[in-house]
Amino acid sequence: MALSDYARDMAGCSRNSYCKFVPWNKAKSWRFSNLCPSITRFNFHAYSGGGRLNMGLSLVQGRSELTDGVAEIIYRCQLCGACDMACKVFKDDFDITDILLEMRTHCVEQGQFNPEHMFMLDNLKKEGNVLGEPKAERGDWAEGLGLKDINTEKADVLFHAGCRYAYDKDLWGVVRGAVRLMQAAGADVGTAGNAEACCGGRIYELGFRGEAMNYADDMLSRIDASGASTLVTCCSDGYAHLRYLYPRMGKTPPVEVLHITEFLSRKIAEGRLRMRNEVPMVVTYHDPCHLGRMSESYRGEWEGDKLDRPMAMKRTGKQGCYEPPREILGSIPGLRLVEMERIREYAWCCGAGGGVLEAYPDFSSWTAMERLEEAQSTGAEALVTACPWCERSFKDALSTNGTRLELYDLTELVLQAAGIQGEGGDSDAA
């Protein structure tokens, strides 16, 4: 596909601004009824989902040119999918997110590169991750966990750590804890260690589609080698890409893909993992975009007028992973969940996605702060999430101002409730 192939879809925008706000059934206040970080921060209509389509149409019709300024507008977007979801409450004959992805590819094709994104790509090419960390250290996070090495042996479950978890030592407790919980629940888990590489989703989002294909192939070969029937990941980005981008690229993973929250909630429901300890805390939960609305599976391409697409082929954001995290929180004794105003498919983004964290850190931080304010407004003591990018984004934002809010990954709370304390502790979960 090329951007011009989306001309008809872009022209479908009826310019009604529903892409800018939470669906109005869900508006609880003036303060937290904005939905799209980009238009909320930069204000020009071109920064909204609809405005981007209008701008894209202008480009393909030759009314205007792709300048540095236009490329910047295109890249100042987390690709969080909120506009797509809000538009589709009514208007479901085009898919804004697909068009936004295509606009980035168009930028790349036209040589409009963002320097930070180029840096990420170079990192990926050199080290297999967008962070630029040494490939040889990719598996260090798993040291001592007793995980199978799928390069040499088979496992029922292939665990994909993802770039952020693999290298961000602040988050190792999460990923290691996740593995411990899986093991405690009796799972036969393996990982690729240093052979694991980026899923490629992030660079797909940056417009480098060809490179992303390579990494998808790489991932599929690892899955194949592992002999696993299930792939579990803590990385929401990876989870969404495996479920949507991979099939869209014709690379459907031959395994069941689960986010760790899905895996854990199943095990809790099955009684394989018991929440024994009280965690007396009032928390609020942030739905990561890529675990939520962006994780809806690929539904195939529809030929012809998309207005006639059957429901089963439309991604509306409603089928994201919303219940498992809440079921887990609900199963933890003593813990009380208070919801923010913008949740589930109409959740506000953490700010990190779409290359924004790397290219526009101020915008990323501003977006995160908006969410932290919303979290604070609930009266919760802690904000819980289930995505390393969200956690990184919130951690960074919290460090820059005096917001008093604890931050947890969901896995950390499960560890407490299950009584799996720290590194190497004995499990009494099963």
Binding site: N16, N25, W30, H45, A46, V70
Partner: protein, 544 residues
């Protein structure tokens, strides 16, 4: 092109991040498929977009534009061509940064807002205090300030919540010259409680039935009436649209009545309205409904050919809905008694919508303004004529004037086949008048459709003249204003005079206020053109 010096001045006034002349960005402001009688979806591209954050910023922009001989046009949410520049060389003032709700006066039942305080946001805050804000048919994504000060402004809740133009109290207004005028008590520094006086009300200059649509400066703040909401202060249902689930509030009901013909409908509903009944009181053609829910059905060839089925749907075109939100069980009982009596006496059938599973989504969809986006389902919606007069006059025109034109548009393949008479009616102010808009669903990407709809505008316009009704666009479009002016005491000339004294530099985009243009009758057949000319002449001579 924006002169470099003007750009620099705007940049200095607003900050570099709040001004742009990037062509692609500007084109995002020039894409306006809705509410236009222009077959071309692109409107004139502004020469720059400015984002003021305060009244002072607006004043600065207006003065800079005046200084450099530039035109400007303010917009809020921007849904529709009326929000965009109507001519070349215009600076678009996007009021998005001015989005605050400044005050809610609970006792005196009004809210003070900036231009980009959105109806859904205001409603969310108002509901917490037991109030509702009036929402126009654009739904929750509209600016009540824009609707109140600058044009149009009625909808389904009109029976209990009036019109936008009649809900406005004090107003802060940056005149086309950059001077700031405050209307009513506000100018005397006494607060927002009155927009009229001392003496003659300058609200009369601000707007009439139509509005200046950006032709008379920029409105920066205003007070708007709030209305009692007897339901809960926590109003978030499960679901987003048709999947909405939430019990109706205590003493609330959602009814639909089906009538045999327009006369029965008009008589019964007027009697009910005269008793002041209804939180919302309106009718929506079933075809219209189905187009929102199920557009592929309406397009389906088998459905088109199934005359018997279409006749059933057609019968249900004469429907009326009441959303009741009573303050007490006794009031609800009374309201239901009246409705039942009138429906029965006029041979209608009354259905409790909750019993057919539609009560909750429709009730909350309308009350929260979340439902109206369905209007964009098939592309855009065109409301080709809309007037406010008594129910009987509106029904007469709908059935005998409008439906044949709609049927012909369907036949010619311009618009979706959602059945003639598929528009929407509603009452205003306890039935003082009714409003009707004929709805045309069409795909604005289809040139045949947009050109065809433009042709239908000519047909509907002649119908309006024949039925002694003002233009559906409230005579804002230059060619409609030029056509109608001489039939209506040359009001267009008075607008030009007002424009002349308030905007001597003609800087505030005059397109929808004072620009003139001949009405094009060429889409009509020679015989129709001859008839149209006779009709126009007759009505003009009767007006002298």
């Amino acid at each position: 092109m924006l002169p470099e010096e003007a750009y620099k001045e705007l940049q200095d006034a607003l900050g570099p991040e709040n001004i742009s002349d990037e062509p692609a960005l500007l084109d995002a402001y020039a894409w306006q498929p809705a509410f236009s009688i222009n077959p071309d979806v692109w409107t004139p591209r502004p020469i720059a977009v400015a984002l003021p954050g305060s009244t002072e910023d607006v004043v600065a922009i207006v003065r800079i534009c005046n200084k450099h001989g530039l035109k400007y046009k303010a917009m809020c949410l921007g849904w529709g061509a009326h929000a965009a520049p109507g001519c070349e060389g215009v600076v678009q003032i996007d009021l998005r940064r001015m989005d605050r709700i400044l005050e809610i006066d609970e006792k005196n039942m009004y809210v003070v807002v900036e231009p980009f305080a959105v109806a859904g946001q205001i409603n969310a805050e108002a509901k917490k205090l037991g109030f509702s804000t009036h929402m126009i048919s654009a739904g929750a994504s509209h600016s009540p300030l824009a609707s109140s000060t600058s044009g149009w402004g009625c909808c389904w809740d009109g029976v209990s919540m009036s019109w936008s133009s009649r809900n406005v109290m004090g107003v802060e207004w940056v005149l086309p010259t950059g001077d700031v005028l405050r209307l009513g008590s506000l100018d005397s520094g006494l607060g927002w409680f009155s927009g009229d006086g001392p003496g003659p009300s300058l609200r009369g200059i601000m707007r009439g039935r139509g509005g200046a649509f950006g032709g008379l400066g920029v409105f920066t703040r205003c007070a708007l009436k709030l209305y009692h909401w007897p339901g809960p202060t926590e109003n978030v249902p499960d679901g987003l649209l048709w999947d909405t689930h939430k019990e109706l509030p205590e003493n609330s009901r959602a009814y639909i009545a089906l009538f045999g013909d327009e006369r029965a409908l008009a008589d019964a509903t007027q009697e009910v309205a005269n008793e002041g009944i209804g939180y919302h009181s309106f009718g929506v053609g079933l075809g219209n409904f189905l187009s929102g829910i199920w557009p592929h059905l309406m397009r389906n060839e088998a459905f088109r050919k199934a005359e018997w089925l279409r006749k059933i749907v057609d019968v249900m075109q004469f429907n009326w809905m009441w959303l009741l939100c009573a303050n007490s069980p006794g009031e609800l009982e009374f309201q239901e008694m009246v409705i039942r009596k009138e429906v029965a006496e006029h041979g209608g059938v009354l259905i409790d919508m909750e019993q057919i599973g539609l009560g909750q989504p429709l009730f909350w969809g309308w009350v929260l303004g979340s439902f109206m986006g369905v209007a964009t389902r098939c592309g855009v919606i065109g409301t080709m004529w809309g007037q406010d007069e008594v129910q009987h006059a509106m029904m007469e025109e709908r059935v005998h004037g409008g439906e044949p034109i709609k049927a012909s548009g369907v036949e010619r393949g311009f618009v979706e086949n959602d059945l003639p008479g598929s528009g929407f009616h509603f009452f205003l102010e306890e039935g003082i008048v009714s409003h009707y808009e004929e709805v045309l669903w069409y795909d604005h990407r289809d040139r045949k459709a947009t050109q065809g709809v433009r042709d239908m505008v000519a047909e509907y316009t002649m119908m309006n003249i024949d039925y002694c009704m003002e233009s559906g666009f409230v005579a804002g479009e230059p060619e409609l204003r030029t056509l109608y002016g001489p039939m209506e005491h040359n009001f267009h000339e008075w607008q030009k005079k007002i424009k002349g004294v308030l905007d001597p530099g003609d800087s505030s985009d005059p397109t929808l206020y004072s620009t003139e243009q001949e009405f094009d009758l060429s889409s009509l057949s020679p015989a129709e053109q001859a008839r149209a000319r006779r009709l126009i002449e007759e009505k003009r001579s009767g007006n002298r």
